[in-house]
Structures are given as C-alpha cells and as structure tokens.
C-alpha cells in the first residue's frame, strides 16, 4: 500500500479514504477528528467530532454547545475503531491544553498527524509524547534554523524586570487568547507574580474554560474601560490585534509587549511597534522539529503549514523521504502576522 491510500490532501483538508473522515477539516464534513482548539484546526459545523475532552470543551466555549451534532471524546491513549479497519488514538502534542497528535493505524501502517506541537515545558499542557510511526505529518511554523526559542522563564523575567523598571507604566502583553495567554499567566505565577493579572474581555471565556478543566491561574480581573487609567504598574494581557487599537492607548504610558515565536526576528517585532519582544512560542522550534522527526523513526515525512521548504530540504539531507503538503487554510496563510488565521493558529 501507499501512504496516500490512508491519508491524502483534499479541498476540505486531510482526508482518510478507508474510514471516510477528515482531520482538522477546513469546511464542514460528516466526520471530523480535531487535533486542538485553535480556529484554523477546529471549525464549527461538522456533524460528528472526535477530539480530546479538553478540546471538545474549548470548542463548546468558543462556538457554543451546538458546534457539532455528535461529540466523541477520546482521552489521551485510548484506541478507537473509526471504521474501515482504521484505529485512531490521540496523544499529547504539548501545544495547548488538550492538543493532540492523532495516530491512525491501518493494515500495520502507522501515520501520525502532529497538528501543532512543541516540546518545551508548558505548565498548562500535557507534555509531548513521541509516537513511533511510518508516516509523520509535521507542522513547520518555525521551520527555519533562525528560530531557536529561548527558555520561556527567561523571557518572563524580562517582562518582570521591565515592570520593575517602569512602575508608572502599564505593560500590555499581546498574546493569543487560547493557550499562550494562559501559559503566560501560569509562568508569571511560577515566577512569583502574585498580583492580579488583568485581561482583555476577549480572553475571559477561554481562561474560564481552562479553570473549569483544573488549571489554576490565580486571580484575574477583566479590564473595564473606565479602569484603564488606573493600571500603572499592571500586567495586562490582550489579543495581539488589540495592541494597535484605540483601546490600548488609554492605559498610562503603555509599554507594548508581545509574546510570540515571531519576536525572534527583529523586523517582525518592529513592524508591529513592539517595544519589548518576548520569544515565547507554543510551536516547536527548528531544533525540536528535527529532533521530533528523528524520534518518530518515520521513513516518510509530510510537511505542512509554515516554512515547508527548509524542513523538506533538511529531511533530504538526512536521507528521509519528505514532501511539502501545501494545505491552504492553516498557519501558512498567517505568515503575515496580522491575518486572522494566525491569531487562530495560536502564534
């Protein structure tokens, strides 16, 4: 058999013919397996959705309870028969709460769809597990050798140093509302920040979902328009797009902070008017991508959204069969930071 018999790209996303299902479909389908809750992977309107219980809870919080007609929860490690002789199981991807790699087994052939993943420590997500396989479909958001993410704790220390240096200014931290924001909250707590953390309204619902799923984030306060002037010395988390809105200007002499893997590249930070860039990413960096590909033992690698060319080239130099899977609709569209797709992909 060929790997394409089990999985192939289609206009609606990655399709599995023997089981007649899609993974992270771009348009509504009958049966969907969903890796994680970011909007470019998890979309409303599918009939049946299989995902981890956490991902299903996040989708319900974002899209309403009617985001699909049938939910099939799949806890990490459980093996489910999805028809056509295909078995599916979900394994921690370390990306955000509930994020999973999906393993499909068929006729002794093992394919892993990574979704988005990272291997760096994240106190709000189950740690990444290596799943040995024959075909590994990897993301490549940061698939260039210039992307090497530093230790997140060091980046948090930069933020706290700045807060100490400028006690009269508000620190506005642009971070994606699902995953990045909660990870930052938890990291701030671990670094000893015990004052309330102020949240833009758009972040509240997901943060509440995290709490309901057992993640303790300390005290958070929603920013009310009238209170902004009084927030000198405060740390305020908001979606990246809010940094440029009028909303952001009403704080006392705000310091513009952004937490993202893109902040590694100076021009990207400056294009966005960021004064304090924090390199904190929920995606694998160059070293993690390569390490993971080798760890899976896969003989064939398909590379999706991001810098496919470089990673495919590297695979070639490591004598691995690899090809870019140009699925339109995922993070690739969001390479220019401002697009909604990128907000959705959580970077």
């Amino acid at each position: 058999m060929r790997p394409e018999d089990l999985l192939c790209p289609s206009p609606k996303g990655l399709y599995c013919p023997p089981a007649d299902l899609h993974i992270d479909p771009l348009r509504p389908v009958e049966r969907a397996l969903v890796t994680h809750g970011h909007a470019d992977h998890a979309r409303p309107g599918n009939a049946a959705v299989m995902a981890t219980p956490e991902t299903l809870a996040i989708m319900a919080a974002r899209y309403g309870e009617a985001f699909c007609s049938t939910r099939r929860p799949a806890a990490y490690g459980e093996v489910h028969d999805v028809g056509g002789g295909v078995k599916a199981s979900f394994h921690p991807a370390g990306h955000v709460l509930g994020a999973a790699q999906i393993l499909l087994e068929w006729k002794g052939f093992r394919a892993v769809v990574s979704g988005d993943y990272k291997r760096a420590h994240d106190p709000t997500a189950a740690p990444f597990e290596v799943v040995p396989c024959d075909l590994f479909i990897t993301e490549a958001t940061f698939g260039l050798p210039v992307f090497r993410h530093p230790d997140a704790a060091g980046e948090i220390a930069k933020l706290l140093d700045s807060v100490e240096l400028f006690p009269d200014r508000a620190h506005l931290v642009g971070a994606y509302s699902l995953g990045k924001a909660q990870r930052l909250m938890k990291l701030l707590r671990q670094a000893g920040w015990d004052r309330p953390i102020h949240l833009h309204g758009a972040m509240e619902r997901v943060t509440e979902t995290y709490r309901a799923l057992g993640v303790d984030l300390g005290e958070t306060i929603r920013v009310m328009a009238a209170d902004r002037k009084a927030l000198a010395g405060a740390i305020v988390l908001c979606p990246p797009s809010a940094l440029r809105e009028l909303w952001a200007r009403k704080f006392p002499d705000p310091v513009t902070v952004a937490a993202s893997g893109w902040m590694r590249v100076r021009a990207r930070a400056r294009q966005k008017g960021v004064e304090l860039p924090l390199v904190v990413s929920d995606h694998a960096d160059w070293d993690e991508l390569r390490q993971t590909i080798l760890d899976t033992g896969a003989e064939e690698i398909w590379v999706t959204h991001g810098e496919e060319d470089a990673l495919v080239h590297w695979c070639g130099s490591a004598a691995l069969k690899a090809r870019p899977l140009r699925l339109v609709g995922y993070g690739d569209e969001g390479e220019a930071e401002e697009t909604p797709a990128e907000e959705a992909s959580g970077e």
């Binding site: 260039l144 050798p145 210039v146 992307f147 090497r148 590694r264 590249v265 100076r266 021009a267 990207r268 930070a269 400056r270 294009q271 008017g273 960021v274 004064e275 304090l276 860039p277 810098e307 060319d309 470089a310 080239h313 590297w314 130099s317 339109v328 690739d332 569209e333 390479e335 220019a336 401002e338 697009t339």
Partner: protein
C-alpha cells in the same frame, strides 16, 4: 561588548526619538573612555574595517550551515547580520566576552588570514544579541533607527551644548573622541582643529500640496526651479596652515568629494553653497539619466569627467568668508549669493534663477510649463518648483511653513503584477518588491513584458493585502521570488506612478522608468484592462519635449 549590544538592542525597539537620545546619553554617562568613544564611532558610521567585510561573515556561516538553509533563512529575515547571529551554532561557553575596544582593535589590526578565526571565537563567546551587534558593526549600517545626528545630539546632551556645535567640531575629530567628551563634560578645552570645510545640515522643504497655500500671501514668497539633480553642499576654506580645503557633501552629510575631483578643483572660494549637482553640456542642463551615468562608478576616469562635466547650480549661500549667514532672511542671503556668483565668475558654479509670479495661478502655470516660464531649453531637467518665504532663515531639518516643494504630478500607467520578492529591513518577510508588466502582442497572442519594479508607495495596511494576494496567487517559486498569476482575467493591476521614462538597452522591455512606485492598487480592474507597452513608450521624453517645444 555586552553593554554596547544592550544599547543597540534597546535602540532598535525604541520608537521615540527623545527616548533614543536619552538611552544613548545614559550609555555615554555610564561608560568610560575609550569604550564609549568606539560606540560613538559605530553609531556615527565612522568605523570601517579593511578586512572584516560581509563576505567574510558569509564565509564563516557557510562553513557551519547548509547553504540552502542559510539562503532560505536570509530571505526570511532580510538582514545578513541578524540571520547569522540567529543561526550561529554557538553554545554558551566560558569564553570571556571581549570589550568593544578590544573588538574594534582586533578588527582593525588582525591580519586578514587570522581574522576569520578570531571573529568566530568572538561569535562563540557572545550571545545572540552580542553576535548581532558585532556583525552589525562589521556590515556597517546599524539600521537601528539611530542616525549619526542622533548620536551627536546625545553627546551634546551630556553638557549644555547644541547639536550643531558638535557638528562643527566633528570633522576635526577622530575616534575614540576623548577630547570631545572632555569638552562637553566641562573637563577640557573645545577641540580647536576646526574643519575649514565642514558639513552643515541642510534645510529641507515640505510638499506644498500638504499646506493650505492658497491662504498664503504670494507677496511673502519667492519661487525658483527645483532641478532634477543631486542636492549638495559645497564647503571650502583655509585650514590653520593656510592650505585651501574644499569638500562636497551629500544631503545626508556624506563626503562625496572623491567622486568629483574636477569639481573640487574648481571650488576655490571661501564659504559654503547649497545647490544642485548637475551635468551641463554647452550650458544646457542634462537629464537625471545623464547625471546617473556619472554616479556610482568605481573609478573616475578622465574620459568620464570629460563626458559628464558636473556643475553646481546654487540655491543658497550659508557661509561667506567665515561669516555664517544662516540666521539671515532668505532674500538677504539671496542678494549675497547673487553678488558672490557674479564676483566669482566660476565656470562650474552658476545661479539658480528665480521664477517671478504675482499670484498662485501664475505660479501654477509656470509649474505646468517651465519652458515658457524661463527654464527654456533646460526645462527637461526641472522637476518642479521650490517656494520659499522671503524672510526664512536657514533652519536645519524640515521646519514648518518656510520652504515648500511643488513637484510635477507624476506620470502613471496601469500595470499587472507579475513577480514578488520579500523585502529587507523594515519590510523583511513581507512580499514587498513587485515586478510589474505591460501588455504587448506577439504570434502567441497578448503577452506581458516586465517593465519595472516598485517597492514603496503603499501603506502598511496595503502591504498586508498585497502580501496576502501574492501568497494566495503564487504559481511558481524561484528561490526568493514568487511568480503570481497574471493572465488576462486573473491577476492584480497596480497603478504605478513614476517621474520619467527613458530608452534602455539593459531592460528587456527597452524602457526604464525613473522612481516607480505603487500609486494605487486597482482591485477593481481586470488585468486585460491594464496599459500596453506602447502607452509607456509614448511617454519617453514627453515631459522634456513638451516643455521644450
């Protein structure tokens, strides 16, 4: 080095000018000599290293990285120093981090053969920010939004001095500037070795269209032609030993004397002229295209000098015989300039004539038809008008309400986007360089032929949209270049504005546009409605021809 790297890093992210000056001044206050002097030299672009060049950096990274991966990374990051700083496989080591002075000394005196090894050892010892700062030093342009002027302003801020005072003593100084710091901090004498031919920062103009000029009283203003050459300052005088020194400065304070020995020889006066560098043949001003052939040549040969004789057309007199005229009103300076030119009878320096007008309508007519308004046969080299307040002093920078430029309306064509490439610097990682084409016909039917490249003219918001269009409509990739769909029905039409068009054997289309930029994005227009090559060809020399006739 870490302290200096930290300063550069902070400057790179600090958008506010005053805060930048404060950061630099703080650094100067806290850092001893000679470290701070080398930093000042780096910030003012006064350092250059004979052997350490970008090519050496490329060589080092090629020994450590896959060339394809380096190429893709460089294409993405858009900056050599930063790409290498990020990719460098260095691990934190126990190596001592060298101070800036040691690095500068090492870069200056290490033999060429030993330098790569030495540079690699520094890069290993430094962290990512330190590597970036070191590589920036070598590649020359720091591009951190801090100009030489800003650094000098910070020096001035250490004492109670004006930036201009620093500017005047500057040409006589050498890094690491210990006597300069001693003077501004009140510990030493003012550096005396005054340059007899210093650069004085020029006065610049605002676009007239931006002002509500019809409300101005025309009697308060005068006008002159805006010549299409290169704005220069000719500065000359005698040094302490009585030797005559002459220099030609660009608008940004770059000493360009070396490229124009014929002109420098002719600058025998004592004073400073603000004017336009032009090529004149038999008294006629040549087009910018002709001037361009004299520029950017590696060697200035006698043949080049004879074929492209450069002149200065004087706009203003800043200094005469040691007397600074800049505080005086424009009309007084103008009278002094006219007398000066008449007395000097310098064959290489002439006077830019005034354009008389009674009201704004008359001036508007002169702008549309310079040939009839006095520019005569030189009208092809006129790019518009300068409008100046009679009482305006010569103020450094771009003061409001004193000088205005009123350029010709640009020509435009509707062209089709064909290829896009990622930009550099501020725009790195966006597809911001656009090759566009016009329609022609051959046996196979309608064809697009590329006619030029534009990489500005659009807003940041439009750039995001253009970038998205390129990504969605890519049909081919050639390294860093993407070919985008450009059929008769599917493609993007750009209204391209430009200042002129000339025949060119170097371009496939046979024409070269001057200063093309994206004036508008025509989302509404299908590609087959874009202009044909003949439309552009018809514009060749039209501006000059129309005005000359």
């Amino acid at each position: 080095m870490n302290r200096f790297a930290f300063l550069l890093d902070r400057l790179a992210y600090e958008p506010r000018r005053n805060a930048k000056v404060r950061l630099i001044a703080d650094y100067f206050r806290e850092t001893p000599d000679p470290e701070r002097g080398w930093a000042l030299a780096a910030l003012t672009g006064a350092l250059s290293f004979r052997h350490a060049k970008p090519g050496m950096i490329r060589g080092l990274i090629m020994e450590r990285a896959d060339p394809v991966l380096f190429g893709l990374s460089y294409d993405y990051v858009g900056d050599l120093a930063e790409t290498v700083a990020l990719m460098w496989p260095g691990e934190p080591r126990a190596n001592r981090v060298p101070p800036l002075s040691e690095i500068v000394e090492g870069l200056t005196s290490t033999a060429k053969l030993d330098l790569p090894r030495r540079l690699a050892a520094w890069l290993d010892a430094l962290d990512e920010v330190g590597r970036w700062a070191l590589l920036k030093l070598i590649t020359g342009s720091l591009r951190i939004g801090a100009s030489a002027r800003l650094a000098k302003t910070a020096v001035a801020a250490l004492g109670d001095h004006k930036p201009d005072e620093i500017e005047l003593v500057w040409p006589g100084l050498e890094p690491p500037y210990e006597e300069l710091f001693a003077w501004v901090e009140g510990r030493g004498e003012k550096p005396s070795a005054l340059d007899p031919a210093p650069f004085r920062p020029p006065m610049l103009a605002h676009p007239l269209e931006d002002a509500d000029y019809r409300a101005f009283d025309p009697a308060d203003f005068v006008a002159e032609w805006k010549w299409d050459g290169i704005r220069v300052q000719a500065s000359a005088g005698r040094d302490e030993e009585g030797r005559h020194v002459a220099r030609l400065w660009s608008r940004s304070g770059e000493d360009v004397s070396g490229a124009f020995p014929d002109l420098i020889e002719a600058l025998t006066f004592d004073g400073a002229i603000d004017g336009e560098l032009l090529v004149l043949r038999e008294g006629r001003v040549q087009s910018f295209n002709v001037l361009q052939q004299r520029l950017n040549r590696k060697s200035v040969t006698p043949k080049l000098i004879a074929e492209f004789p450069v002149h200065i057309r004087a706009y203003d007199l800043l200094v005469e015989g040691g007397e600074d005229l800049r505080e005086k009103p424009f009309m007084e300076r103008r009278a002094r300039l006219e007398a000066f030119i008449a007395r000097e009878k310098n064959p290489r320096v002439d006077l830019s004539p005034m354009v008389p007008f009674a009201d704004w309508d008359e001036l508007a007519a002169a702008r549309l038809d310079p040939a009839s308004a006095g520019a005569g046969e030189d009208s092809a080299a006129v790019e518009g008008l300068m409008v100046k307040r009679r009482d305006a002093p010569y103020v450094v920078g771009r003061p409001k309400g004193l000088w205005f430029k009123w350029k010709h309306d640009p020509m435009t064509v509707d062209a089709v986007l064909m290829y896009a490439q990622r930009g550099h610097g501020k725009r790195s990682s966006f597809y911001s360089d656009y090759t566009f084409g016009l329609w022609t016909e051959d046996d196979a039917g309608p064809q697009l032929v590329p006619v030029g490249k534009a990489y500005f003219g659009f807003t940041d918001e439009e750039l995001v949209e253009l970038d998205r269009f390129v990504r969605k409509h890519t049909i081919n990739r050639f390294g860093p270049v993407r070919e985008v769909s450009h059929t008769e029905d599917l493609g993007l039409v750009l209204e391209v504005a430009f200042e002129g068009v000339a025949r060119s054997a170097r371009h496939k289309s046979g024409v070269a546009m001057r200063f093309p930029r994206v004036a508008r994005i025509r989302w509404d227009k299908p590609p087959h409605e874009a202009d044909r090559l003949e439309t552009l060809e018809a514009l060749i020399d039209l501006r000059g021809a129309a005005r000359a006739s």
